[in-house]
C-alpha cells in the first residue's frame, strides 16, 4: 500500500514538474499536460449523453482501431495455437516446416506492408493482414515450444489410459503448453499495437495512427500528444487485462513457470 502510494505520489509529482516546466518554457512542441488533458477531453469525452459522452471520433477512429487490433490478435491466436500444437506434437512436420517458419519470423513485419497494400488494397483488410502476419510468429513458435515439451510422465500416462485424441489435445497438451502460449500472447499484444499504428500511418485516414499524423500535419501538438498518451493507455490496459486473465488461467501452475519476465519485449 505504501509502495502504491509512493509510486503515485512520484507520478503526480513528475506531472506537476512537467506542467510547471512546460508553462514556463512555453515551447509549442511541448504543450503542458493540462492542455493535453483538455485536448483529450475535447477529442474523445465531450460527446452527447445518449452516446455515453463519447464523441464521434471515439466511435469512428478509436473503436475501429481497437476492433482491428483485437480482431487481428484473436485470429493470430486461434491460427497460431492450433497450428502450433499440431506442429509441436509432430516431430516430422516440424522438421519439414521449421526452416521456413524461422525465416518468416525473421522478416520485420513492417517490411511486408507494401506487399499487403498491393495484395489487399488499402483498407481494413490490409491492416488486419499486417497485424495477423506480424504477430502470428511469437504465438506460433511459443506454442510449438510448449506443446513439444509436455512432461514425459503425462504423455505415457495418457497413452496407458488410452485417452481419446480430443481429450489428449485439450486436456493434456493445451494446459501444459499454456504458460508458453501466454508468453507468446503477451509479446504479440504489444507488437499488434505497433503494427496497428504502422498500418494506419500509411495511406488511410481512419484510426488512431491516422489521427496522430493528421494532428502533426496541422501543427495541433496538444492533439498529437493526446493521441500518444491514448496509445500508451490502451497498451497498459490491454496488458493488465491479459495479466489478470493469465493469473486466472495459470493459477494452478507452479509459480516460477510463468513469472519469468522473459516476455518483456516491447516494441
Amino acid at each position: 500500500m505504501t509502495n502504491f502510494f509512493k509510486r503515485w505520489v512520484v507520478f503526480v509529482g513528475l506531472l506537476v514538474v512537467w506542467q510547471v516546466v512546460t508553462v514556463y518554457t512555453d515551447d509549442p512542441f511541448f504543450p503542458p499536460p493540462s492542455d493535453i488533458g483538455e485536448a483529450a477531453y475535447k477529442l474523445w469525452l465531450s460527446g452527447p449523453p445518449d452516446k455515453l459522452f463519447l464523441t464521434d471520433v471515439v466511435y469512428d477512429d478509436v473503436l475501429d482501431s481497437l476492433t482491428r487490433l483485437l480482431g487481428g490478435w484473436a485470429i493470430a491466436a486461434v491460427v497460431g495455437i492450433s497450428i502450433g500444437i499440431a506442429l509441436g506434437r509432430s516431430r516430422t512436420a516440424l522438421e519439414y516446416t521449421g526452416p521456413v517458419l524461422t525465416f518468416m519470423r525473421s522478416i520485420p513485419p513492417p517490411a511486408l506492408v507494401p506487399v499487403f497494400m498491393l495484395l489487399f488494397k488499402i483498407g481494413s483488410f490490409m491492416q488486419l493482414a499486417t497485424i495477423v502476419f506480424g504477430i502470428l510468429w511469437p504465438i506460433l513458435l511459443n506454442t510449438i515450444d510448449g506443446a513439444r515439451t509436455v512432461d514425459a510422465t503425462k504423455v505415457e500416462t495418457s497413452k496407458v489410459f488410452r485417452v481419446p485424441r480430443v481429450q489428449w489435445v485439450l486436456g493434456v497438451v493445451l494446459p501444459s503448453a499454456a504458460p508458453k502460449i501466454f508468453a507468446g500472447l503477451r509479446v504479440s499484444l504489444s507488437l499488434s499495437l505497433v503494427l496497428m499504428v504502422v498500418s494506419e500511418l500509411v495511406g488511410t485516414d481512419n484510426g488512431i495512427g491516422a489521427q496522430l499524423l493528421l494532428a502533426q500535419r496541422e501543427f495541433d501538438y496538444a492533439n498529437m500528444w493526446a493521441g500518444i498518451v491514448l496509445l500508451g493507455v490502451i497498451g497498459y490496459v490491454l496488458n493488465s487485462l491479459l495479466l489478470v486473465a493469465e493469473r486466472r488461467v495459470l493459477g494452478w501452475q507452479p509459480k516460477q513457470e510463468h513469472s519469468k519476465p522473459a516476455q518483456l519485449a516491447t516494441v
Binding site: 507494401p114 498491393l118 497498459y236
Partner: protein, 255 residues
C-alpha cells in the same frame, strides 16, 4: 542429417508452391512475382552498390541503436534493480512509458529531431531500452544471496559487490535482453525507414521500389534481405549466448 534434408525439402516445397501460385494466376504475377523472378532480381541487387549501401546503412544504424540502448539501459537497470526505493518510485513512470509504441512517437520525433538518420536511431533506442532494462532488473532480483553474503564476508564493499558479483551473474539475462532488443530495434528501424524515408536504408529501398515503379519483385527481394538480416541477427546472438554463457544453467528469458 535427416532433419536437415527435411528442412531443405520444406523450403523447396514452399518455393514451388509460391512459384505455382504466381504461374497459375491465383494472384497476378505483377502483385506477387514468383520466386524465380524475385531471386533473379535479388542476385542482381547483391551486385548493386547503391543497394548494398542501403543495407549497410540499416545495419550500422542498428549497431549504433543497440549500443546506445545498452549504454543507457544496463546502468539504469543496475540502479533500479539494486535500490528498491528508486524502483518503486519510478515504477508508475516506467509502466506508463513502456506501452507507448515507439512508432506512435514518429510524428513527435519528426518535429523534434527532423527526418535524418538520427530520428530512426532515436526511436530504435527507445524501443530497445525496455527489454534490456527489464531483464537487467529481473537478473538482480534473481541474484543468489549466498554469493552476495560470501563476498561481503570477504570484505567486499557495496560497489565491489555490484561489479564483481551482481554484474557477472546478471550477464546472461542482460544478454537475452540485448538479443530481444536487437530484433525489436530492427523492426523499428525498418518501419521508420518505410514510413518516413529521409535516410538511406532497407526500408526506404522497399518503399521507393513500391511507390515509384511498383516493382514488386524489388520489394520482395528487399523483404527477403530484411528477413535474412533478422535471421542472422537472432541466430548469431543466440549462438554467442550459448558460447559465452553456456555455464549458466538457467538462461533467462526467451523471445
Amino acid at each position: 542429417m535427416r532433419a536437415l534434408t527435411r528442412g531443405v525439402l520444406g523450403v523447396v516445397g514452399f518455393l514451388i508452391l509460391w512459384e505455382l501460385f504466381g504461374r497459375f494466376g491465383f494472384v497476378s504475377a505483377q502483385y506477387l512475382p514468383p520466386p524465380s523472378v524475385v531471386f533473379g532480381e535479388l542476385g542482381k541487387l547483391l551486385g548493386d552498390e547503391q543497394f548494398l549501401r542501403d543495407v549497410i546503412a540499416t545495419v550500422l544504424s542498428l549497431l549504433i541503436a543497440v549500443g546506445v540502448a545498452v549504454g543507457i539501459a544496463v546502468p539504469l537497470g543496475l540502479l533500479l534493480g539494486s535500490v528498491p526505493a528508486v524502483r518503486y518510485a519510478t515504477r508508475a513512470v516506467v509502466e506508463f512509458l513502456r506501452p507507448i509504441p515507439s512508432v506512435a512517437t514518429i510524428p513527435l520525433a519528426i518535429m523534434l529531431i527532423g527526418i535524418g538518420p538520427e530520428t530512426k536511431i532515436s526511436l530504435a533506442v527507445y524501443a530497445a531500452i525496455w527489454p534490456i532494462l527489464f531483464n537487467t532488473i529481473y537478473a538482480l532480483d534473481e541474484l543468489d544471496p549466498l554469493l552476495v553474503e560470501t563476498a561481503k564476508v570477504f570484505g567486499t564493499g557495496r560497489v565491489g559487490v555490484m561489479f564483481s558479483v551482481a554484474l557477472p551473474s546478471a550477464l546472461p539475462f542482460v544478454f537475452t535482453g540485448i538479443r530481444l532488443a536487437a530484433t525489436t530495434a530492427l523492426v523499428v528501424l525498418v518501419s521508420v525507414e518505410l514510413l518516413l524515408g529521409g535516410s538511406p536504408g532497407l526500408g526506404q529501398f522497399i518503399m521507393v521500389a513500391r511507390s515509384g515503379a511498383g516493382r514488386m519483385d524489388l520489394v520482395l527481394a528487399g523483404t527477403v534481405v530484411a528477413g535474412v538480416l533478422g535471421y542472422l541477427l537472432n541466430e548469431g546472438l543466440e549462438r554467442a549466448q550459448q558460447r559465452w554463457f553456456g555455464w549458466d544453467t538457467a538462461i533467462g528469458g526467451r523471445s
